[in-house]
Symmetry: C2
Subunit: 138 residues, 2 copies
Amino acid sequence: MRTENIDYKNLLIEHNVRPSNYRIHILSLIDQKQNHPTADELYKDLIDTYPTLSKMSVYNNIEALVEAGLIRRVAIENTEVRYDSILDEHGHFKCIKCGCVKNFDLSSNLLSLDSLMGYEVLEKDVFFKGVCPDCQKL
Amino acid sequence: MRTENIDYKNLLIEHNVRPSNYRIHILSLIDQKQNHPTADELYKDLIDTYPTLSKMSVYNNIEALVEAGLIRRVAIENTEVRYDSILDEHGHFKCIKCGCVKNFDLSSNLLSLDSLMGYEVLEKDVFFKGVCPDCQKL
DNA sequence: GGATAAAGTTATAACTATTATAAAGTTGTA
DNA sequence: TACAACTTTATAATAGTTATAACTTTATCC
């Protein structure tokens, strides 16, 4: 959870995206909670506030945010698409017992892999799975 | 493409999976071609040989191979599930221009990330996206 | 070898996530 | 205010996968 006060409306304007209520709300949810929600989870989060909200709007607005480079799709689990606000480069660890997701730093040694010499790397997804410290104690 | 002569039938038996024709064929396709096929691509590869093959059988047998630890699901692209025979630990690079997929070694520095101290890591998926050397020349 | 149980296969249907389409509503600007 | 562009909604279509049940094959025990 972030603590800083971020002006999402302005952030959207800076990225040439119209700052509709939905967009402000969706972006702030993804950025504040840092819980890498799916489109469906976002929808469920929003439907109480906007009873007439359609799922298409969630998809449309997610797409607009991805296009604008404000969020990106990440591979946390193979079968589902999740979203993350771009900060620094990081990997995701998911606990197979409690389901919690932890972000972790990618040490810079990942940046220069000999075997990818000559390849222009534009995007990185690093997803680990295992057991978190809390669940190891149980 | 692999060149060794592997006895997939025996490999299945060793892993306590009945060596049906489908399973032998599916496992050998995934292991020989190393092209990380989707369930659908496997189905299309097999349908000529087995005209009565149903897609359910592909899913069932893939599942059996995953259960047995002979193959695993990998995240090459977010939206699709692909399969890979487990060899050594490696990442996948996908070229956004030609679509080719290259396996690359993960240098061992990925094994010991300070930020994951205390976490038991059981599975790793590393997926990069970008432009391959050939496509950079175009 | 034949009976029986277990496992595998098929066809069909159901389900979930996503994308497409078109009509209605909203916003921004001249 | 009027028009154009954008956004939203509802509905339908699609793709990938899972569920179910009947049928077939394979393995095992006598």
